[in-house]
Amino acid sequence: MPLIFDSISKIVSSEVHIHPMDLRLESGSFNTLLGRTGAGKTTLLRLMAGLERPTTGRVLMAGEDVTGVAVRRRNVAMVYQQFVNYPNFTVFRNIASPLEVSRVDGGKIERRVRQVARMMHLEDLLDRLPAELSGGQQQRVALARALVKQADLLLLDEPLANLDFKLREELRIELRRALAESGAIVVYATADPQEALILGGNTIIVDGGRVLQQGAAAEIYRRPTSLRAARLMGDPPMNVVPGRIDDAYMRMGDDHPVEAPDHLRALPDGPYLFGVRPHHVRMGRGELSEITIHTRVDLAEISGSETAIHFEHGGSSWVSLQDGVHPLEVDESIDARVDPRRVFAFDPDGELVATPDHASAGRQV
């Protein structure tokens, strides 16, 4: 029972929100829509739900054309970033409400609500009112209500974005388990690549109302087809600098040229955009085969277990991601180094032309 978009587009007052798009989401699959704010994620969810009518194309659900069918006649559940609950209902009734609306019998409601409440760790809070709950608990209630419905299509629009960091970390793991058991086609929109990587399943990178790339998140991370996809699938985004390959030597920005590694040697001479993942930019002077960048710290951003060292390189903002906590002063002089065997190459239009062979750089622990 797949969900199919057949040449779906959405144009609002002559502005293209979604370019003509074909999409196939398999029955029972988990899908992540990854993109920045304004990329078209919410519009896609609304088109899937039937909350919006496409300008062109058809939506097929289990082989049936549902393009014009109203949302309440489809078996769809949706969860939003801002948690929505009925303030005067207890947690139990909040979760039970979709079943009450569809006149499920009382005993079955009781059973289903308790089952979902257990899954979302709400079993001790069923008599409370939403106002008596923390933000994280309120969002758990909204998620439970979506799950209880046993919808064919479960749509989640950045459901964890408003929660505190630690809560997000915990709920992400619980949600992964609960959603896997739901049996529905799940579509989860997020702006956080880490979330796409942890949730797993099929990732669809959305940018400017188009699908840039589709596949397993870790696979897109390693083999992005474009610079744009490479940068969206990574936080901090992939570093990029223009450069050249000439006579089997590569040069990034104004750095000293180094011998082109195996994966770049076959490329014709000319200009390229070189990309380096932040954790492949290491600290300290490089060996002869490596590129050393002399620079100054813009900011050391410390996340708790990692330090993101921001600096300027060849006119672009670069980041080196280091394990552990390393206090560095603003404007402090540093050397950063890049192993050329780790460098992605894109043509000047941003299409991928060479991927580093990960095995060749050996094991670094």
Binding site: G304, S305, D323, V325
Partner: protein, 368 residues
């Protein structure tokens, strides 16, 4: 300049507190040293906002005193304390120009106009606002407005400390770093005491020289960002700071080793030798980044069974079962996982002992 001292400070929102659980802020002694950039970090409900409101004079404490440079200010109103505040939302006059906004606190102080001009120019220069002094604030973006909010605090000549309450919440992610950098520069140049309240570990650790971590109405650690990562003083800090959080395993202690399921794990050298002598809940703590995983069946380490591998691209997060406990291990992206049965190696320098949730550490062991 200000050294802010909290002396037996406590607060309860109940009329008559009877037990410890009635206190949002439990009796606390703490000194905010002059000229240090602090973060006050904790989850919602930990008591950090209560503490902030007491220091700023918005809330009168149930018990204890607040001293600014030795002077008791507990009963004084906000405007009688020489502090400035920057809130989540910029507090600015939209219809006035940037210049008039920055000059406002000085005009209230009735300073001569010439001095006001010089002072505003100086602060505008520091905050990169010099080119927009004649613009109306209402027309500016959120990061510029928040800088003006900060500038209104900095411009005052009588300010000794600035309290920040989640000041970057409404700032676009891509503008946050330039504002964070600006805050560092401001601190370097002004040497004011800065206290930055947040629930976000990245905000806290990026900003602060020293981080004050609160949990359940108590301060559980005051330390450098590095120490919060390497030597969390409380299991809560191990859990709350770092992603994924620290692993904790119930253990017994025998000499300089923790014993987990019959396996001996050597503890960090700065663990006191008498740590296991009293009957208490003992846990071995180690961060996911420090655990090593081996597959070659050597007879060291602790046998574990891998139950899940999450490929995060830049690293792998492995979930492994050791007896009834579950541990997370962060591995480099290249590590090949060849078997679900592995052994976990605990490097001694990162294997820490916790007694009743608190780190056991020799008192002399090189603390900052």
């Amino acid at each position: 300049m200000a050294r802010i001292e909290l002396s037996r400070l406590a607060h309860s929102y109940e009329g008559r507190p009877t037990g410890e659980s009635d206190y949002a802020l439990k009796p606390t002694d703490h000194v905010w040293d002059d000229g240090v950039a602090y973060a006050l970090l904790g989850p919602s409900g930990c008591g950090k906002t209560t503490m902030l409101n007491i220091m700023s004079g918005l809330l009168r404490p149930t018990e204890g005193k607040v001293l600014f440079d030795g002077r008791d200010v507990t009963e004084l109103a906000t405007e009688e304390r020489n502090i400035a505040q920057v809130f989540q939302f910029p507090v600015v006059y939209d219809t006035m120009t940037v210049f008039d906004n920055l000059a406002f606190p000085l005009r209230n102080q009735k300073l001569p106009e010439m001095e006001i001009r010089n002072r505003v120019a100086e602060i505008a220069e520091m905050l990169d606002l010099a080119l927009c002094l004649e613009q109306r604030v209402g027309a500016l973006a959120s990061d510029a407005r928040q800088k003006i909010s900060l500038g209104r605090g900095l411009v005052r000549t009588d300010v000794a400390a600035i309290l920040f309450d989640e000041p970057l919440t409404v700032i676009d992610p891509h503008l946050k770093n330039s504002l964070r950098r600006k805050l560092e520069e401001v601190h370097r140049e002004s040497r004011l005491t800065l206290i930055y309240v947040t629930h976000d570990q990245t905000e806290a650790l990026t900003f602060a020289d020293r981080v004050v971590v609160m949990h359940g109405g108590e301060i559980v650690q005051v330390d450098t960002p590095q120490a919060l990562f390497e030597r969390p003083a409380h299991t809560f800090v191990g859990h709350f700071v770092g992603s994924p959080g620290m692993n904790f395993l119930e253990c017994e202690v025998d000499g300089d080793c923790a014993v987990v399921g019959g396996h001996r794990i050597r503890l960090a050298a700065d663990t006191p030798t008498d740590a296991g002598s009293t009957g208490a809940s003992l846990e071995l703590g180690i961060r996911p980044e420090f655990l090593e995983m081996v597959f070659d069946g050597r007879e060291h380490g602790v046998p574990a069974k891998i139950t899940r591998v999450d490929d995060l691209g830049s690293s792998k997060i492995v979930t492994a079962a050791v007896g009834a406990d579950t541990l997370t291990v962060r591995l480099a992206e290249e590590v090949v996982i060849s078997d679900e049965n592995c052994r976990l190696v605990f490097p001694p320098e990162h294997s820490l002992l916790y007694r009743n949730s608190r780190l056991c550490l020799k008192p002399t062991a090189g603390r900052p």
